[in-house]
Symmetry: C2
Subunit: 140 residues, 2 copies
DNA sequence: AACAGATGTAACTATACTAGTTACAACAAG
DNA sequence: CTTGTTGTAACTAGTATAGTTACATCTGTT
């Protein structure tokens, strides 16, 4: 029932802003997203750790550390650690090894679900930050 | 986030069991999954609601209601409602409409993420319950 | 008719993630 | 030194998960 955290969409939002008009302070980005600045700072921290942005201490201001052509949405998705252990699906532990199904099903399921996850991530990897930036520029 | 609930893998597990040796009681399935029978009954309830299984009241015993060739993992995934509103990704509400990015980013992101979600679901729809059953039968 | 075993739920628990909030130390430029 | 910003810690409310106990209800069997 859960969804993937909005950290991902917020992170993409602020990265697009940085691509368009750097440098930006956390407060400016928070104003565009309309959330608390601390929420933004936490996400910036993750993006920094992933090497996607630079932040000037003291005076403030965040900028992209890579060309927006070289940042994919998969990079962003991974940076904000929206999925634990990079595994989207979870499994019930310790199925009964004495049951022919219990003993073997997990291995089969892991394979299938890994493929499904990869299909999703592959689609994300095909979208570059620049693609979003370009679409916004055309419209304005 | 964390992960997609293990309800999905558990549901698949017990459907495979039902395909191999019906009818099965909740306790038998719980023994194979190694969890509490109520957890199984709740999942069975969702599968029943989705029209995937039949349950005999009183005497007990669950069976598939469709041919395992006609049940895909996407059917199971949808049945157990692991994702709220069928939307895998979530968005931060009310971005600032006065910001050119805030005003337009959500629409772009929704499109991209919907495509990513569809890529994943498409992969799940390509796997039939029978495929898993067949692989288990070969091995035993 | 009574019994035994199964299902269907309600209610409660512990755990964990999310998103927001307040508070404050550290920093850097003017 | 002042000012505005960043980086965190700590706390909150809300919610999903998965497990558990308890119990009413149902049905085939004896």
């Amino acid at each position: 029932m859960k969804k993937i955290s909005s950290r991902f969409s917020v992170a993409t939002h602020i990265l697009v802003m940085m691509a368009l008009s750097p440098p930006l302070t956390g407060d400016q980005m928070a104003a565009s997203v309309q959330t608390n600045p601390v929420v933004i700072r936490r996400i910036i921290g993750q993006l920094k750790k992933a090497g996607l942005v630079n932040v000037k201490a003291g005076v403030g201001g965040a900028t992209l550390r890579k060309d927006p052509c070289n940042i994919t949405l998969l990079d962003v998705y991974r940076a904000v650690e929206v999925v634990q252990d990079n595994e989207l699906f979870s499994f019930h532990e310790d199925p009964n090894p004495d049951c022919p199904v219990g003993a073997n099903i997990e291995r089969l399921l892991r394979k299938v679900m890994q493929e499904a996850q990869m299909a999703m991530e592959e689609r994300l990897s095909q979208v570059r930050l620049q693609d979003l930036v370009g679409q916004l520029e055309i419209e304005n």
